[in-house]
């Protein structure tokens, strides 16, 4: 049997491995300390500004911490969040599908020419244009906000998917062809996993843009949802409620990023983490 110099029996950790492990732990600890320090700093700065400017104009963090439970007790909190999330789900879901289809189509130079400027326009246009257009044409009907969300977010998905398809690894597809692998298996085992990081980026950026435009459309053309609540709060000069909605919104976005997107990302891209360790 041939000698294999690369294979070593697993044994106790060497001093070098122990040192690297300790360094890694320290890095994680330091990162958490800085993250917490960031939160403390911004909360203190917010409290200070609130005191200087006045609690009525900029309510401090403690007051907001009391207002959020009040909103929850009133029953408006979950119904408004539910309405906004439903809109994002429908609008962004549709934009995501359209974005992927156009992204795939743009591999053909004819379709690329057909959609090219439309994608650029969607990327650079302020979402306000689409929100107002939707309001004028459809009023408070769902088509108005669906139109605004789709027009603002589909291009983010298209650009990412098209980028991924352009970068498809030819060496792997050639390999699969040499072995006579079926087209379906090639899609499932090469194309989809390769495109997954691009789709995740599209999902993350598209969703963040989708949030903004959804709330914006609710400010203009809705009688429910977070945007609507913020409009009412600002008109009635209930600054604590306005801030409470905004902060709840931030917290939700953070939770979504950390608990949902990042978790799925870790699951999908476990092979990267394994390789880097």
């Amino acid at each position: 049997m041939a000698t294999t110099l690369e294979q070593q029996a697993p044994g106790p950790r060497s001093a070098e491995e122990e040192r690297l492990l300790a360094l890694r732990k320290k890095e994680i600890r330091d990162r958490w300390i800085w993250r917490l320090a960031g939160y403390v700093f911004f909360l203190l700065a917010w409290a200070l500004v609130s005191r200087i400017v006045g609690d009525n104009l900029i309510p401090g963090p403690l007051r907001i911490a009391r207002t959020i439970p009040e909103l929850i007790e009133s029953g408006r909190f979950f119904s408004s969040f539910g309405a906004t999330l439903t809109r994002i789900g429908i609008g962004f879901g549709l934009a995501f599908l359209i974005g992927i289809v156009i992204g795939v189509l743009t591999q053909s130079r004819w379709w690329n020419g057909f959609f090219r400027d439309a994608v650029t326009i969607s990327l650079v246009s302020p979402s306000l244009i689409w929100a107002l257009t939707g309001l004028v044409i459809w009023g408070f009907e769902p088509q108005g906000w669906i139109f605004a969300i789709v027009m603002t977010t589909f291009a983010v998905v298209t650009v990412n998917v098209a980028e991924g398809i352009r970068a498809l690894p030819k060496d792997l597809t050639d390999m699969s062809r040499a072995f006579g692998v079926t087209n379906w298996r090639r899609q499932r085992d090469i194309v989809f996993p390769f495109l997954a990081p691009f789709v995740f980026t599209a999902l993350r950026f598209g969703f963040s843009v989708g949030w903004k435009v959804t709330v914006l459309t609710e400010v203009f053309s809705s009688n429910e949802g977070i945007g609507f609540e913020m409009r009412v709060a600002s008109q009635l000069f209930r600054m604590d409620e306005l801030f409470a909605w905004a902060i709840s919104f931030f917290i939700f976005a953070l939770v979504l990023e950390k608990l949902v997107l990042q978790r799925y990302e870790r699951k999908f891209f476990r092979w990267r983490a394994e390789a880097s360790t």
Partner: protein, 246 residues
């Protein structure tokens, strides 16, 4: 018995002033339990020939037939780089090229991974393995489909000398056990002499210039006099054909 027949094969890339002839009127007949090396300078069409034989590229003219007992033969391929799916485990990389995922198929994949000494690495991702180990997975993948013929395109050229030598020995042992027809592209004459029964010498412009028989017993040690003499003879042939200068 597997048989590779190549008749009047030519391949050109580009048109007009950019036209490059990669292969010109190549005729070839390879069959049975033989290890055939294809050597020649860079750009002589060695890899193009393998790509055409394996169906990755199409010829400009000529005919290629690869048969096993008068049926279409199934080829396996080992590439210069391992070309593994980084997001699939070692075992899944082998299963990717199989027709099914039955227990029998998995056992066969396991058998070939053990032959390349990676039986305990089935759940690892390619990124967790060294370059030599990745190339071993590539070799196991090609053998695991139990092909009738095996095409290998400079599979050890990216590896360090010690790993390459160890892999050559393993490859030779697998070839002896499985009795495949192997077509092996290399730019290393010593490697060709160590492994092959037959060496096809290609020149720039894609012409098959010579077909040499190496009648020495296996296994061959590069340090042995007879192997060194055979290598010197092949290199002399290179000089006669003016290939070293080119």
């Amino acid at each position: 018995m597997a048989e590779i027949k190549v008749e009047g094969l030519s391949k050109e890339f580009g048109v007009g002033e950019d036209r490059v002839v990669a292969l010109e009127n190549v005729n070839l007949d390879v069959g049975g339990h033989v290890f055939v090396s294809i050597v020649g300078p860079s750009g002589c069409g060695k890899s193009t020939l393998l790509n055409i034989l394996s169906g990755i590229e199409t010829p400009s003219s000529g005919k290629v037939t690869i048969t096993q007992d008068n049926h279409d033969a199934e080829p396996g391929y080992v590439f210069q780089a391992a070309r593994l799916l980084p997001w699939r485990s070692v075992m899944d990389n082998l299963l990717f090229v199989q027709k099914d995922r039955s227990d029998e198929t998995k056992a066969r994949c396991q058998k070939y991974l053990e032959m390349v000494q990676l039986g305990d690495k089935v759940d690892k991702y390619p990124g967790e393995l060294s370059g030599g180990m990745q190339q071993r997975v590539g070799i196991a993948r090609a053998f695991s489909i139990e092909p009738d013929v095996l095409f290998m395109d400079e599979p050890f050229s990216h590896l360090d000398a010690i790993t390459a030598r160890s892999l050559r020995r393993e490859l030779h042992e697998m070839w002896s056990q499985t009795k495949k027809t192997v077509l092996f592209v290399t730019h290393d004459v010593g490697e060709a002499v160590e492994l092959s029964n037959r060496i096809l010498v290609f020149a720039k412009g894609g012409k098959l210039e010579d077909d040499l028989q190496i009648d020495l017993p296996f296994p061959r040690d590069p340090a042995e006099d007879a192997v060194a003499v055979a290598k010197a003879q092949v290199l002399r042939k290179f000089e006669e054909l003016d290939l070293i200068a080119s």
